[in-house]
Symmetry: C2
């Protein structure tokens, strides 16, 4: 019976194509990758439920409060885009170079690259997280 | 000399990982997929410059003015997420079912699926477009 239940869940994940704001999956994490504070997440779908033949594995609305951060971490098998929607932060790229980022800026860690993000402003830093894998 | 110049450009596309708002590529299209009006786009990178081993092929900030639309079209080989940032619209999914969408909503057309989007509100409909392919 457990196998049947899991199969039904996986089918739902595969076919759903509209994820309304009120139905997003809340998933918050602490001190991500050696960073500080809480990474608040509201996900349409998460990588742990993605199917092998789906390129986009995860889409989430993320928030870091002022001073909070995601530490430097490497994407071994997938790519991760952070797209800044509001607030101000510092993005660190694969070479350790720091960039001031704000609304409208797009960043990406390709396969094998590392990145980090810190809210260096006074408002919440809101960004989209999109993970894809070939 | 032309070949050398092209090679340098392709390398830049491959390694860049921060795309600041002011440097995004402006690319506007008319009556997309039988839709109406102008689809305004500001792209970090576009699918025509993506490398084969990159999963995320395109990221763009898109705007449809009130009444304007992207017509129904099929994604034969890739996936396309529309993530609503502001405004109000109607999203049509692969089965032709219509959904009212607004800020925070996430939609996706998986490989082989079709979708369409219309601005049904009074403000610009701003959304992110993310295309990925395995």
């Amino acid at each position: 019976m457990l196998c049947v239940a899991v199969a039904i869940f996986a089918t739902n994940v595969a076919v759903a194509d509209v994820f309304q704001k009120g139905s997003l999956i809340e998933y918050n994490r602490q001190d991500v990758a050696g960073g500080k504070g809480t990474l608040y997440g509201q996900f349409a779908f998460k990588r742990d439920a993605a199917l092998k033949d789906q390129a986009i594995k995860e889409i989430g609305w993320m928030t870091l409060q002022p001073g909070d951060s995601i530490g430097m971490h490497k994407h071994e098998t997938n790519e991760d885009a952070y797209i800044i929607v509001s607030g101000e932060g510092t993005f660190k790229d694969n070479d350790g170079k720091e960039y001031a980022v704000k609304a409208g800026d797009v960043t990406i860690a390709r396969k094998g690259q590392s990145h980090a993000l810190t809210n260096t402003g006074k408002e919440p830093l809101v960004f989209l997280d999109v993970i894809a894998e070939q």
